[in-house]
Amino acid sequence: MNPAAGNAPYEVFARRRPGEQLGHIGSVFAANPTLAVHYARWMYDEEAWAEMCVVPRAQLRPVAARRHGSTPERRV
């Protein structure tokens, strides 16, 4: 959970039951993807998830984002 010691943030996504949406449930800080997987499994054990995955935050590309709290708008 330590971002300062060479760890990188990973976003955690999970689906409770098949057919439900895959949702963002939190994040972990880890030194590598393997540790990120373990941290996510231990940290987010409030459900018996049907599916869970981690994605390095650096790999996420914003496609749309609200500006100044107005209605969502597209960035070109």
Binding site: N2, G26, S27, F29, M43, H68
Partner: protein, 310 residues
């Protein structure tokens, strides 16, 4: 976005998602609130650890270890949100002086017996639940609201765990006095989780910015409405009653009042001011240094090993 515009948007239901959408004061108040929340969960793990040898069976020890793991998970939520706001979490968690942690005073005491463990879960976790449910349902900060889904669920389990044990221990002649002794000091201590009356807070902006939405006094009432009937139902004495004319829960002792940490005793005939309470909180309780050092020890040992290896 300037402050007036931000506040007016929040009043209309605007949910803040990203740091760029905050003003400096929003960020400062959110930061302070998250630190209190993270510290409370984090230090409670050390407090609860002192109860492990008191567990009456292997199964109850396993339940307790699961509760402790949950608390660390809850601390992680607040601290990772702080990291996303740019906070240096290593410094905050592992390099801060123990006395500068912001958890409730009651966590600076070791758990003396399994009855105290039960009352801790039944009363302190209930206070945490009331406080965080308000954030979960009403906060203007989107990332925190969503993260608290996990906490809401797990706190409910902790409260049920505590209630099951309080009921059982209070029904047993052999442990009844022990449970009552725990309630006697932990009931007023739990009331302190709700902090100062809102009009005395140096940062009323918590409510203005809707980082939390319900005034402390109302949350204290919610907690009383849930805790007092439960304790009564277990046949325990509780220094509070429901006042029909005002339709509020009323304490049968002056609050705040003096506290003797050595005896863990509230002195009901000695009212004090909130200023006195703040001084006691700032001075921290007897095990504060030890508990926080214990939580910081692993990080320091690892840092030393890494240094030695380099």
């Amino acid at each position: 976005m300037d402050t007036t515009e931000l506040i007016s948007r929040i009043e209309q239901g605007f949910i803040v998602e990203r740091p760029e959408e905050m003003d400096d004061e929003y960020r400062a108040v959110l930061r302070e609130t998250l630190i209190v929340s993270g510290d409370t969960e984090f230090v409670s793990a050390a407090t609860l650890l002192t109860a492990v040898p008191k567990a009456p069976s292997v199964q109850s020890q396993m339940s307790l270890l699961s509760v402790i793991q949950d608390e660390i998970g809850h601390a992680h939520i607040a601290y990772r949100l702080l990291a996303d706001l740019g906070e240096d979490i290593t410094a905050l968690v592992y390099e801060r002086e123990p006395a500068r942690f912001k958890h409730p005073y009651a966590f600076d005491f070791e758990v003396r017996d399994w009855s105290e463990m039960a009352v801790l879960n039944a009363l302190f976790d209930r206070a945490g639940f009331v406080l965080l449910s308000d954030v979960h349902r009403n906060s203007s900060y989107g990332p925190w609201r969503r993260a608290l889904a996990k906490v809401d669920k797990e706190q409910t389990f902790h409260i049920r765990h505590g209630e099951t044990w309080v009921r059982r221990l209070a029904a047993d002649e052999a442990t009844r006095a022990e449970v009552q002794r725990a309630v006697d000091w932990m009931f007023p201590a739990a009331l302190e989780f709700f902090g100062l009356p809102d009009d005395m807070k140096h940062r009323p902006a918590q409510l203005t910015y809707r980082i939390r939405a319900t005034p402390n006094e109302k949350l204290r009432q919610d907690w009383l409405a849930s805790a007092v009937p439960f304790l009564r139902d277990c046949g325990l004495d509780v220094p509070a009653h429901f006042d029909e004319p005002s339709q509020t829960w009323v304490l049968d002792f002056p609050f705040p009042c003096a506290f003797l940490p050595g005896e863990r005793r509230w002195v009901f005939d000695q009212p004090v001011t909130w200023h006195d309470v703040l001084a006691r909180w700032r001075g921290r309780g007897p095990r504060n240094g030890e508990f926080v050092s214990q939580l910081q020890r692993g990080h320091r040992a690892l840092a030393e090993l890494s240094g030695a290896a380099a």
